[in-house]
Symmetry: C3
């Protein structure tokens, strides 16, 4: 039992986790797991994910152990059969089973490298953990997915729009950013919203497409749940949105020409989300951290329609609900 | 309720915290706060402060979460209205409210930058936390103050000189150092001693003045408590001191000419504290870390009048007393 | 009471710790030490040691505090009498007593520098901790020893070969590596096996000798326990081994000519451990991390005779057994 793309508990299981997160947030006593440990391996920086995971462990009486390979631990080799005469000192073949023998849940953050589409699609580090761990694995954002973010987003949608999310209008909009970014978060928003049967519009400029396999999977999932997925290359859907989720990402076709994408991105500053772009009644969400006044204007982030703090706050309670399940009796 | 400059509990409140620290050090059972978390954001290195905070949390059954922006977390933007197209990825506007939603107490260390007097006086990072946090904020050393150090110092003075500190003779002496250092610690020594009504002499070379507003505030506080503050540009007061606190700091007037100050500092090695400088009966204190044989001679640090280890040891117990209050019923 | 080279509990004490580790691994309830802290200072990277120490603390209800001088804390000065006008800001004279006043057990990792044989033999950082700490010190790998590894190795030998290890045939073989490595681990394997009265053969190329004092001490210990120590400059003993422990190390005579040693090492790739080198019945061990296909072939590490995961897994339980003793009633 692991949490890799957030669909593992199923739609009803996700609703149950959200319900439990609401209970915990309202003061329900969390289950206690004294003596238990959660290992969390960070190949990339983190603020919300690590802090909420640690605070969730504290609520459950469990102990978090955070590992930063290359900083406080050895650099890892990921390639099978490697002759390790270079910079890496520790092979994932040893490291993961060893860690799994010390802890009760093993979590990992490893972003996309954005150099090889097939490699990122295979989500190699996350898959490497799953293949080698005897304890449940929690994805803290991989090349492809960010399921704890998806659960917090789902909790936010449920609180703001009501428990039945079928057909509710969510727009996932591409946004400008100084750097090429992975698509794990937009993939996850799309998948999580689809799982709830929402009516999702993905809005992005030409060339900043999401992985077509992800879009197809989400479309099928949404259709099964009473919703749908539409892709547009303009921002008109924002005007009719109930919730707008903004995020920058690099295009799936951008793997072929990262420099060209960077040039095109430089001309797309107008995709910044401004207050005039969405209805006063719509909620605005972003996973954070967010580049203020590049991705989105201060007026939106600080305005009455901003749900980003609620979204971030749910990270604690959804993580606690997930750990209760993984340390306890499962979904 | 926060602890920012150490005066928040008032003089009687400080005495009560010191008394509680003594009880805890003597083996009294600390109050327990299972499931609670203390978040601590470090923009600068720390040994005593972080370790004593973590150990204090452990005594109280609470969980510490330490964050090092730029190392294990994103670099923070502090400027309102910034267009974040540069190196900073996370705005304090998001980060602090998010952290405050995960933890029960939020602590922060952020030293003075020493480039702009008005900026340092405004203590912008600490003030930024206070303005954005819904949970109590603890200052782990800011541009201006180091209140947990002040409490540990007060506990040390009380143990060594007796509970009534009115009129007891403390000399805060400037000391040499290879680098320009912030004045948070000398400011705090001055303020904490003044709050206890001590008779404080600040001894420093010309040009290494403390912030006149801090001196004026301390003078008024000391006078109200039965003590006083004197500033001298020689070291004669050391000969009559009951306790000598040494620290290097950059002058408030040095903001205008940091290079000139560095040249003057290079000629002031004789301000090093040597055994002959203070009476055999006097105690010697320093917040640590200390540059041995630059700030103070080994013979003083290792001699019978050295109180630096007691001073450091009280960091644990005063931090525990503060957290008991902040997690519990207040001052 | 400290754990420095692993012989402190004596042979019977080690057997008792191993027995306790087995019990804990089998589900026995660990003793609880709420409110207690273990401080761990890492001057070098760590995966297994830190993670198993943290997880062991969690099992015991104690709190681990990890410190990385130069990263999250000040750089340390180790030289007595130093005039600290350079890069180091914190003297071990202050740091260790201060930490010892906050925590209940103080642990430290500090590798050999490999520049001065006399310095490494004196194990200066570990010895510096012991001389300045009022609480028990645990060696997390020093210039000379790695006792927690030795205990995990002993537990592995006991599980695989039976509780009476007298005369059992262990071969400690030198192995290739791109870098000159300290000898703490081979020293420890030798000493721990000798303490159990095993029949130990050390196999290494000419010029890659272990410290003769260590070999002499282990020989005496082994003889007293019914075993012995043999040193060979070929690999013939592997063919008759019951357990093979591989590790690269720099030669004791290599202190005189590190460059020459590096040239000789480059020609010794054939000392890599391959499946054909050891009997099918023999166990293979390595402390990890291991350079795959340089130190040892994948076929050995991934084969049925590989005990490296069991060896690593015992790190948790032997650490827990040690902490139970150090926080409790001693050996």
């Amino acid at each position: 039992m692991s949490l890799l793309d957030g669909t593992e508990p199923g739609a009803d299981g996700v609703r149950a986790l959200v319900q439990r997160a609401v209970e915990l947030r309202s003061g329900a006593a969390p289950r206690q797991f004294p003596g238990r440990s959660v290992g969390a391996v960070f190949f990339n920086p983190s603020l919300r994910t690590r802090t909420s995971l640690e605070a969730a462990c504290a609520r459950l009486g469990a102990h978090p152990i955070c590992i930063h390979p290359g900083t406080d631990a050895w650099a890892w080799e990921m390639t099978s059969g490697a002759v390790m005469d270079g910079a890496t000192a520790e092979h994932i073949d040893e490291a993961v089973p060893v860690l799994a023998s010390y802890v009760d849940v093993l979590a990992v953050r490893s972003f996309a490298r954005l150099t090889d589409a097939a490699e990122d699609r295979a989500d190699p580090v996350l898959a490497g953990f799953v293949a080698r761990s005897k304890v449940p694995v929690v994805n803290l954002e991989s090349a492809m997915w960010h399921p704890l973010q998806g659960l917090a987003d789902t909790a936010t949608w449920s609180e703001k729009l009501g428990p039945d999310l079928t057909g509710r209008r969510l727009v996932l909009t591409w946004a400008p950013h100084p750097r090429a970014l992975p698509a794990a978060v937009p993939n996850q928003v799309l998948l999580s919203a689809a799982l709830m049967g929402m009516d999702v519009t993905v809005a992005h400029p030409e060339g900043f497409d999401l992985d077509p396999d992800v879009v197809a999977r989400a479309s099928a999932l949404a259709a099964a749940g009473g919703g749908g997925v539409t892709v547009r290359h303009d921002r008109e859907a924002l005007a009719d949105a109930e919730v707008v989720v903004a995020k920058s990402w690099s295009g799936f076709s951008g793997y072929a020409d990262r420099d060209g994408e960077a040039r095109r991105r430089a001309g797309l500053a107008s995709w910044r989300v401004d207050a005039a772009d969405l209805p006063a009644s719509a909620g605005f969400m972003h996973c954070l951290p967010v580049r203020r006044n590049v991705v989105v204007a201060d007026a939106v982030l600080d305005g009455p329609g901003s749900w980003v703090q609620l979204e971030a706050a749910y990270r604690l309670w959804t993580a606690a609900a997930v750990l209760e399940s993984l340390l306890g009796d499962g979904w």
